[in-house]
Assembly symmetry: C2
Homo-oligomer: 721 residues x 2
């Protein structure tokens, strides 16, 4: 297991933000940033809660960070043994990707701290830490530990009305500002030595001070347990938090850890890809899978995954198309119940999408570009801040990135296509597809004197080019949405009455006819020399190199897109766009066509989004060029391990982990290198292993069967597990 | 006549650019900026030619400035008596608006120069100056005079292959770079004293040095004549230039001046508005009329007037909608032959408009936003330079300001409506209207599931809001264009065969049917509390004051419009938009409606364009509130006299005279204060004199009759002249 432990030695305050992402532990319910126990807000500590949102004043709406129940600060003989207050002699952070454990070792000379921390996968409301304090001198130690409400927020504060209750289990209660959602955090402690305990209620939390005398060479172990519940989980979050914390304390840290690591072992059995190749790549892929697996919503059947996971409030904790197009495949093939949860989130937030469409004067379902709870749109009209004027810039992600609805319809259809399970379609999925198709009917631009139907004034995946017409990806996705809306009739051939009632309830029969008339009229993509034009007029834009465009930047944090950005008026694109189209619709394009487009677009792509590289890698495999995919695979898989990715868009912080890249790494390995396909309900493999990998082994769950797939350069073996 | 002389005393190098505009003399063929005889390029001297364009390399295409044939520099006793080289003791510039004479008086102590300059209205190729040199000491004077090719260009150089021919008449020939159009400038001189003459051919022109001895108290008069011809005028520009110059010299300055001032007297008889009121406003109105009358194309029946007249190369010397909407009315009511020339320019450039439409994939005629010769589009996709990055900014004037075609169709119809003369319609005008309507048919956005026809992604008169949908002004103009396309059939009821052949030639019969089906479907303007919404969603924009928006500027030269501009995302508009609609379609709106819109939009208008104030003034008169119009009238009429108006748009210089404001001042006086209307071929007056004016007298030509209109607070009197 030690193979999958990543360590970083040395104390570097500069990288505290990146390390907070890199050493994140999470369990789908919450994520604890990889900061040390004694961290104050300057280190950006956070217990980030999934699906709990709040708006403060007129700032951006964002997920709520809970008070930190694992706070602990040591002082020894009157001197602080705490980062930021004392210079450490040694310092090491580590994360065990296999067991999902955060670890820390810091030596301050007379005393040293080593700790281990978990966010239980077995019990998502439970977090725990085990601290071992070692002393090289005789003396008096004070460990201040408790629930810190000194919370880091991007656009906060979000919690108000703090109420602190001392006791064996400490309790901190608060409510969110906007919707008065109750948040309860409890804390219990076990200590291996007899300690005097004093409880303190302070401005910034409730704490206990454990005081004890030690001899040189002594080791003291302190176990800390903290439970988190919100009013969205239960009507009595405080009571539940106190109860769970007491139980955990009685069970002890080792038992809690045991349940946790067992759950992770099960999870890895269901999802782990192992590759024979260089150790760095093995580690990177494991890490990548860890970052995604750790944030999957397993505690609820109707939640999705934010664009930066549970690593903080970046991107407003919102759900993007990442979920459907980049995260969905791994879950659909390994943990279909999670894939279903992602989609149920969309089914349940259909009312929000209907409302958004109506707001813009359209019929049907226009999903939020940045979806928060209930499908509320988190995206504002001013999503970038200009670095020169410090003024917000009007951006068009919210109103023009209309492919979002088709992306959701695509994933709903993929779920059915892959699993063969019609349940989701029956339980609201069909309605979503129909309402999405209806949105496009009303969004279309027809001509008075021509047959073509355009989708004008849109943004495709490449966000640098705003307000374009007939984005090839968008038009094809819309057509697929409409095609699937028509296919539903056939899918529900044996449930004619049910489907008929749905059509009646939605008053959809005329629209169904309209869809039939429209599908063939949607403007097809234009091509030139075998290359698909990204949108009408793209080929007329300035054709210059990425370096040329980069050299025009006056400020390194400038936003590249839109009319003012350096890329917006050139052929340089942010991320895979036509290539995403080709990755999602492999049957539409010949190998030659994909190759021509790959060669044209790849050098024109900044890969300024973590959603880009995997699409290039996937299509490289499809044209039998896995060597072209390798670089993108390594970059994609190692993005969070390395702490990479853009940190700034204009003046907005956008750092965090990259779930879409994590999902992308899985896609490259399984859909790309192994070449997994599903066609007419049957699995197929068309492997293209790059030379750097000698063997690839991974599990999948396919239509009730648990399979183990082994791919080598000699071929492919599928066995039932 | 002296009432209409404007003088400025004192030497102020800072205002040399503004003064160049203010003291401009012109005759429609050329304009000479108001700079002194010895000016070098740092003073931006120019002989700006109408309708002669050139592009240098990939810079903006712009009109050509001819070599300066009235150059003269005095030195006395070895010392320069020239601004920029010697500090003057006294200096005065003046312009006689009545006679169109530039005047200058500068005292350098030992010597003084006074001069008078004209650009002949009687003979448009002729310019002349009379210099009086006075000497306060005995000594030797040298006057260097000739043709200077030290030419000021914004985006030049434009002239190449200079050829200099000495002789009694000096000759300078050159050709333009792009199209090799020949330019010939000649110069001849008469001197009141015997002078030694030496001719010099230099790097920067051909000159003669006149040397003579003077006694203290002597006055020497030098008359200079210069003729300009181009290859667009004649096949032999050099011979013509030499001939005309010789003739003028023989006739002498006074005779030339006599012909010139006589022509101006005739012109004033046809067009001069006199008002009884304060002298400043009288002068301002005279000046305003002068600036417009002096640049009207009388030498050719198929030219229009650039947005900054003949004051330089600003705005690329291009023709904008200003011509049809702001300049046309004065000419239509006072000098219909000039009005017809403006429109013939559009009729003859129809091929350019057809080409531009095709370039964008549309049928019909999409006129150039900035039209140069042959209808060539001068507007680029990058018409503003960002002040922070110094990078060009993608602007949408070229591709989205589609109302231009309807503006032209509107003026064509106005010509017919006002004059009752069908000739222009017969001679191409009908075809223009039909092709413009056809353009809109193909530009329209229909819905798959609704009747409404939208015009999406356009820019209205208010250019700060780019890419909007259903701009109320644009939609109404388009509907009018279509209505008039349908009315043509009736107009040509007695020429059925001719009109039928036109329809056949244009393959228009199906389009005529389509127009009939479409007119009623064009989205009408939305209203709220009696206020017409400028475009879909305008009311949802931030509602803040002009001061608030101005306070957000980081750099005073920032461009206000577009997604990055301070105004683009607010309700603050650059210029009259809905109010222009109400000015152009008075019968569509009740007085109450106009009043409600006036009150709503006026405080939200920056008046950042010289096209704005007159529309507000016109509508203020229409609602019986001339007191609201007064401020706008004074500002509009005095803009060039004061040297006002914006000088910069981003980093682009946009200074010059303001023909549209000049035309606007006439409109306020005649269409606003006097309330002139034409309905069913009959004149009507509904005067609303502001209290500042006791009497307004003006001539008009209406359907062959020359009338004199006198308006007082007691009523209105119309007499034949």
């Amino acid at each position: 297991m030690t193979e999958y432990i990543f360590e970083k030695s040395g104390y570097d305050p500069e990288s505290v933000v990146t390390d907070g992402n890199r050493f994140l532990i999470a369990n789908g319910y919450l994520g604890i940033r990889g900061t040390v126990e004694e961290a104050d807000t300057s280190s950006l500590p956070a217990v980030n809660l999934a699906g709990v949102y709040d708006r403060h004043e007129d700032k951006w709406r964002e997920p709520v960070n809970a008070p930190m129940g694992l706070y602990a600060r040591l002082s020894f003989n009157g001197k602080a043994c705490a980062l930021g207050e004392a210079e450490p002699l040694t310092h090491k952070l580590a994360i065990d990707y296999g067991q999902s454990l955060f670890m820390r070792e810091t030596g301050f000379g007379p005393a040293a701290i080593s700790s281990e921390r978990l966010a239980s996968l077995a019990q998502p409301h439970l977090t725990a830490a085990s601290l071992t304090l070692s002393f090289a001198e005789d003396g008096e130690a004070v460990l201040k530990t408790g629930i810190s409400t000194d919370i880091w927020d991007l656009n906060g504060p979000h919690l108000f009305g703090y109420k602190y209750t001392p006791g064996e289990v400490l309790l901190c209660e608060a409510v969110t500002g906007e919707k008065s959602i109750g948040i309860a955090v409890s804390q219990g402690v076990s200590c291996s030595v007899q300690a005097d305990e004093e409880q303190l209620t302070e401005q910034n939390g409730i704490f206990r001070e454990l005081k004890f005398s030690v001899k040189s060479g002594a080791k003291v172990t302190v176990s800390i347990f903290s439970a988190v519940y919100t009013g969205l989980d239960t009507v009595e979050p405080a009571a539940e938090a106190v109860r769970l914390c007491g139980e955990a304390k009685r069970a002890g840290y080792e038992l809690c850890k045991n349940d946790h690591t067992k759950a992770w072992a099960d999870l890895w059995r269901r999802s782990e890809i192992t590759l024979e190749g260089d150790p760095d790549t093995r580690l990177a892929l494991k890490a990548s899978q860890y970052y995604l697996n750790s944030i999957a919503p397993r505690h609820a059947g109707n939640l999705s995954i934010p664009a930066r996971g549970l690593s903080g409030q970046t991107y407003k904790g919102a759900i993007f198309w990442d979920s459907e197009i980049f995260l969905f495949p791994m879950f659909a093939y390994t943990q279909p119940e999670v894939a279903a949860a992602l989609l149920r989130y969309r089914i349940e937030t259909l009312p929000g999408a209907l409302k958004k469409a109506a707001e813009y004067g359209y019929r049907g379902a226009f999903y939020a570009w940045e979806s928060q709870e209930g499908g509320t749109e988190g995206c504002t009209n001013f999503n970038v801040v200009d670095v020169f004027t410090h003024r917000p810039v009007r951006t068009y992600f919210r109103d023009k990135q209309i492919h979002i609805s088709a992306d959701i319809a695509y994933a709903l259809w993929e779920y059915y296509r892959i699993t063969g399970d019609r349940t989701l379609l029956e339980e609201g999925g069909a309605e979503v597809i129909l309402e999405c198709a209806r949105f496009y009917l009303s969004r279309a631009s027809a001509h008075l004197d021509g047959e073509a139907v355009d989708f004008a004034d849109v943004i495709g995946p490449d966000e640098y080019h705003e307000r374009v017409t007939n984005n090839a990806f968008t038009n094809r996705m819309i057509r697929y949405c409409m095609e699937n809306a028509l296919r539903l009739e056939q899918i529900f051939d044996d449930k004619k009455q049910m489907f008929g009632e749905l059509l009646n309830r939605l008053d959809y029969r005329k629209d169904l006819e309209l869809i039939k008339e429209t599908i063939g009229r949607i403007s097809p993509a234009k091509t030139k020399d075998g290359v698909t034009e990204q949108f009408d007029g793209y080929f007329d834009l300035e054709d210059c190199s990425l370096d040329t465009v980069r050299a025009r930047l006056v400020n390194p944090r400038e936003y590249w897109g839109g009319d003012h950005g350096v890329a917006g008026t050139t052929q340089i694109i942010k991320q895979a766009d036509v290539i995403t189209l080709m990755a999602l619709f492999p049957d539409d394009f010949s190998e030659d066509e994909v190759a021509a487009n790959w060669e044209f677009y790849e050098p024109r792509t900044e890969h300024g989004s973590s959603l880009s590289a995997c699409m290039y890698a996937l299509t490289a495999c499809r044209i039998g060029r896995p060597e072209l995919a390798w670089k993108h695979f390594v970059n994609t898989a190692s993005i969070d391990l390395k702490g990479g990715g853009k940190q700034w868009a204009g003046e907005i912080y956008i750092g965090g982990t990259h779930p879409a890249a994590n999902g992308g790494a899985w896609m490259i390995a399984v859909l790309g290198f192994a070449g997994l396909t599903v066609s007419d309900g049957r699995l197929g493999f068309n492997p293209h292993l790059p030379e750097q990998i000698s063997k690839l082994v991974f599990p999948i769950e396919f239509r009730g069967k648990r399979l183990q797939v082994t791919v080598t350069h000699d071929g492919c073996d599928i066995a039932e597990r």
